[in-house]
C-alpha cells in the first residue's frame, strides 16, 4: 500500500503514528488541504484519540461541533477530492509538489474507494461529530470525525479531560439533541431551561419556527453554603454599556469564593441562519457575529469558503486584509486600555484613549466606508482598494498616533494608584491558563505563547516580521501591558505592509462553489483565534457553518481569575478579558 499525502511536514509523523497506534480503528484519512487533515474515527475512540494527540503531539482541542447529515444528499464520502482526485494527483516522489489548495484522499492500491470502515458506506442516518485539533508547533490541524447513529443519539463527553469543551458539548446536546454521556454538568446551556424541547440545528427544524411563550422552569444555580456566605446576582442587564450575561457571585465578606456564569442571552440562531443564506450574504452575517471583530470574523468566514472553493485571494487583497485586521486590533486595544483605566477611576486616561480610538475609527471609515470595517470583506479578497492618498493617510495616522500613544502609556505608568489596583488583581496563572486552553491575548498575558499569525500564518503574515509579546504574571496589569505591546507591534506591521504593498487586483473571482466540501478557515482576531468551518451545499450555499469565537474558550479564565478578588474589582477583571457575549452565544 502506498500512501501519498500532500500534507505539511509537521503532520506526517503524527499521522503515521496515529495509524500505527489505532490501525484498523481509523477509517478514511483525507487531506483536502496540506494543513487540514481529516481522520474518521469510531465514536468510542474519541477520548483515546484525543488523549494520544494531546500527550504525544501537544495538540489542542480547539473546537467540537456536530453536523446533521442524516439526510445528506450525497451518499458518498462528503469530502472533496474523492472524485476530483484526478486534478490533484498525489506528489510522486514524496516531495510536496502539489498546488497549495490541492487535496488528496488516501487510496489503497488501485481501488479508487476510500479505505476503512467508512468506505462506500452512505452517511444516511447519522450525525457527525467533529473534533478539531490544532498542532501549533507543527502548523497543522487534525480533524477527527465520528459518526453518531440517529437511532442512538448520544456521545461521550470529553469535558473531564479537556475543560474547554464544557459549553461546546452542551451546546451540541441542546441544538442537536444528542445526549451527553459522562458530562459533569450536562444541563441546558445555549437554549435556556425554559425552552421547549427543540433541536434547532437539526436539518428538519425550520429556522423560522415561531416558538410559543416559554413555560419551562427557570434556571437553578448551584447553592453555595457556609457561614457568612451569601450570593450576589448580577445581570443579565448590566450597569454599563455592555452585553448581557448573568453572573452569580458567592462571596464571604468581600472576596469572591465562586462565580457562576450563565450566558447565551444573545443567542440569535446565527449558525442556523448561515444555512439559509447564499454564501455571499454569509459574509455580511459573519460581520455581525461579534461587532468589535467584524472584519476578523468575516475574514475567517471568507477564508473557510475560499479554501473550500480552492481559490486564493491575490497578494494585494491579503495585504489589505492584514491592514484591516491590525486596525481592528488597534482600535479595540485602545478602547480596552481606556476602559480598564476608567474601571479603576483613572478617567483621564480613558478619555485620551477614546480620543485616539476615535481617530482610528474615523480612518477605518475613510478607508473602508465603515468605522467597524464592515462591508470591506468579500469572498476572494476585499471590496475596496486603498489608493495612494489613503495609504498616505494611514501612514500619517500611524506616525502621529505612535508618539501620542506612547505619551498615554507614560501617563498610565506614572499613575501609581492605577498600577496598585491592576497589579496582582485578577490573576490567571500560566498553569491554569494552559489547563483551560485559554487563547488569544488572555492566554499570552498568562504565558501561553500562541498566535495564529505566527503558527498558522494567514492573510499576509508569513511575509512580515513581528514579535508576539508574551507575559507571565497573568494579572490585569499584564493584560493591559500585552495590549500596549501589541499595539506597538501593529503599528510596525502596518508600516511594513504599507511599505511593501503589492500591486495588482484585490479580488479573485470565486465562481461557483463546489458542493459537499468541508473547510476550516481561521484568523487571529484581536481577542484571539477565530475559526469558521463550512460544509458547502449546492447552489452556492452552505449546509453547515460552525463559528468558534475565542470568547467561548475564554470565559473559564474569568471565573478562575476572579477567585479571591473582591466584588468591586470584578468590572476591571472582566474588562481586562473583554470577551464577546455575542461571539459566545451567536
Amino acid at each position: 500500500m502506498t500512501t501519498e499525502f500532500n500534507i505539511v511536514a509537521g503532520l506526517q509523523r503524527p499521522l503515521a503514528e496515529v495509524r500505527k497506534m489505532f490501525r484498523d480503528r481509523i477509517g478514511t484519512v483525507h487531506a483536502p488541504r496540506p494543513n487540514e487533515l481529516y481522520v474518521d474515527i469510531p465514536l468510542d475512540l474519541a477520548a483515546g484519540f484525543c488523549a494520544h494527540l494531546h500527550r504525544k503531539w501537544s495538540a489542542r482541542l480547539v473546537s467540537v461541533f456536530a453536523d446533521d447529515v442524516r439526510d445528506a444528499m450525497n451518499t458518498a464520502f462528503p469530502f472533496p477530492g474523492v472524485d476530483g482526485l484526478a486534478s490533484f494527483p498525489p506528489g510522486g516522489s514524496g516531495a510536496p509538489a502539489v498546488p497549495p489548495n490541492g487535496g488528496t484522499t488516501e487510496r489503497t492500491g488501485d481501488d479508487a474507494k476510500p479505505r476503512g470502515v467508512a468506505a462506500g458506506v452512505p452517511h444516511r442516518g447519522v450525525f457527525h461529530l467533529y473534533y478539531v485539533y490544532a498542532l501549533d508547533q507543527r502548523h497543522g490541524f487534525i480533524i477527527a470525525r465520528a459518526a453518531v447513529p440517529a437511532d442512538k443519539p448520544e456521545f461521550p463527553s470529553l469535558t473531564d479531560a479537556v475543560h474547554g469543551v464544557n459549553w461546546q458539548e452542551r451546546e451540541i446536546q441542546d441544538l442537536f439533541g444528542l445526549k451527553l454521556l459522562g458530562h459533569p454538568n450536562p444541563r441546558r446551556c445555549a437554549l435556556h431551561d425554559d425552552w421547549p424541547e427543540v433541536f434547532p440545528l437539526r436539518k428538519d427544524f425550520d429556522l423560522r419556527t415561531k416558538l410559543p411563550p416559554f413555560q419551562g422552569p427557570r434556571h437553578k444555580f448551584r447553592e453555595v453554603e457556609g457561614e457568612g456566605v451569601f450570593q450576589v446576582p448580577v445581570g443579565p442587564v448590566h450597569a454599563g454599556i455592555i452585553e448581557p450575561g448573568h453572573f452569580l457571585f458567592s462571596v464571604a465578606g468581600e472576596p469572591v469564593l465562586y462565580l457562576q456564569l450563565r450566558m447565551f442571552y444573545v443567542h440569535k440562531g446565527t449558525e442556523k441562519l448561515f444555512e439559509s443564506l447564499p454564501v455571499a450574504h454569509g459574509v455580511r452575517l459573519a460581520e455581525s457575529i461579534s461587532g468589535d471583530s467584524s472584519f476578523a470574523h468575516a475574514t475567517a468566514f471568507c477564508h473557510a469558503v475560499e479554501r473550500a472553493a480552492e481559490i486564493e485571494p491575490p497578494p494585494r487583497a491579503r495585504a489589505l486584509r492584514t491592514l484591516c485586521l491590525e486596525l481592528e486590533r488597534i482600535y479595540n486595544h485602545l478602547g480596552d486600555i481606556g476602559a480598564i483605566c476608567t474601571d479603576v477611576a483613572f478617567v483621564t486616561a480613558h478619555m485620551h484613549a477614546l480620543r485616539l480610538k476615535e481617530r482610528v475609527m474615523r480612518l477605518n471609515e475613510h478607508l473602508t466606508g465603515n468605522r467597524l470595517l464592515r462591508g470591506m470583506a468579500c469572498l476572494g479578497g476585499v471590496r475596496f482598494d486603498f489608493d495612494e492618498s489613503q495609504l498616505e493617510q494611514l501612514a500619517q495616522l500611524v506616525a502621529t498616533l505612535q508618539p501620542e500613544f506612547a505619551a498615554l502609556v507614560e501617563l498610565i505608568r506614572d499613575s501609581s494608584g492605577t498600577r496598585d489596583r491592576l497589579e496582582t488583581t485578577g490573576v490567571l496563572t500560566p498553569d491554569v491558563a494552559r489547563d483551560l486552553g485559554i487563547v488569544g491575548l488572555a492566554g499570552r498575558a498568562s504565558g501561553v505563547d500562541r498566535d495564529l499569525r505566527r503558527d498558522f500564518p494567514h492573510a499576509f503574515y508569513e511575509q512580515l516580521r513581528f514579535d508576539i509579546p508574551v507575559l507571565t504574571a497573568g494579572d490585569v496589569q499584564s493584560r493591559l501591558a500585552l495590549r500596549r505591546e501589541e499595539i506597538f507591534q501593529s503599528f510596525a506591521i502596518i508600516n511594513q505592509v504599507a511599505a511593501g504593498m503589492p500591486d495588482g487586483p484585490i479580488r479573485t473571482a470565486v465562481g461557483d462553489i463546489p458542493p459537499d466540501r468541508t473547510a476550516l478557515g481561521y484568523v487571529e482576531g484581536w481577542r484571539g483565534e477565530i475559526f469558521h468551518w463550512v460544509r458547502t451545499a449546492p447552489g452556492n450555499r452552505l449546509a453547515r457553518c460552525k463559528v468558534k469565537d475565542p470568547s467561548l474558550q475564554n470565559w473559564p479564565a474569568l471565573t478562575e481569575a476572579i477567585l479571591g478578588n473582591i466584588v468591586p474589582d470584578f468590572p476591571v477583571v472582566n474588562k481586562s478579558f473583554n470577551l464577546s457575549y455575542s461571539g459566545t452565544d451567536r
Partner: protein
Amino acid sequence: MFNLLRESLRAGIVTTSYPATPAAVSPHTRGRPEIDWSGWRDVRPAAAVCPTGAISHVDHDGRRTVQFDLGKCIFCGLCAEADTSIRMTNICECAARSRGDLITEAGYTLKPDGAHDRMISPPSSRTLPLDDVAREIQARTRKLLGRSLHIREVDAGSCNGCEVEIVNLNSPVYDLERFGIHFVASPRHADMLLVTGPVTRNMELALKKTYDAMPAPRLVVAVGACGCSGGIFGENYATRGAVDAILPVDVYIPGCPPNPHALLHGILLAIDRLPERT
C-alpha cells in the same frame, strides 16, 4: 500630575460642534443609499444582492410595488454596485419617529421580461396612523424630558457593534454630557431606554422587566438595523426581531451600526432638541 495636565493641554479641545454644524464625515463613508425612483428600470438585481431584504418587490396584476426599507438597510453598498439607479450617500443621520417613515414604496407597470416600465405611483413613505392621544403623549413626554435626560442602555441581542459606537458617545469627541444627557446604571433612574437588537428569546423577559422598572414618562429608542427591523437576523426561532415587537418605540435609528453622529441625532430627535440648521 504635571504630565497629566500637560497631556490634557496638548490634546486641546477635541469635541465636535455637531449638531450645530453638519457631521464631518469622509466622502468615502457609506450612509443611506439614494434611489433614482423614476429612472429605476429593474429592482431585481439589487434585491438579489441585498443581504437583509431591505430592497424587495411584490408583483401583482401587471403591476410591481417596490419597497426600500431603510430600517433593514446595513449600508453595505452592494445594491449600488449592482444597479446604477442606486447611489450610496455619506448621510448617516436617518432617525425617524415612525417605523413607516423608514419605508419607501413606489409602483411600476411590469414588462413581460420582468423589468419594470413606467412609474405609476411615486415614492412615498408608508405612513402608519398614530392616533391623536398617542401623538400628544409623545409630544408631552419630549417636552418633559427635553432638558436633561438619563439613558439606560439595553443590549437585547446585538452583536455588540452598536455598543462599540454607543460607548463612543462618552468620548471627548462626542461628549454626550454637554447636552445634559447621561448614561445611568439603573432603569429606575432612566427616562430613555436605548435598545439594541434583535431582541432574542433569551432577552425578551429581561427587556420587558427593564422597561417596567422605569418611571413614566419614558422613551424608547431602537438602535441599529437589528433594533429597527431585526436586521439580517430577522425573526427566527431564537429572536423576536425588532424592538417594537416587544416595546412601544419612539424613535428608530437606522445604521449598522449607526455612527455616533447618527446616534446623537436620534437621541436628540427623541427629545425634540435638534437645532434648526439653515
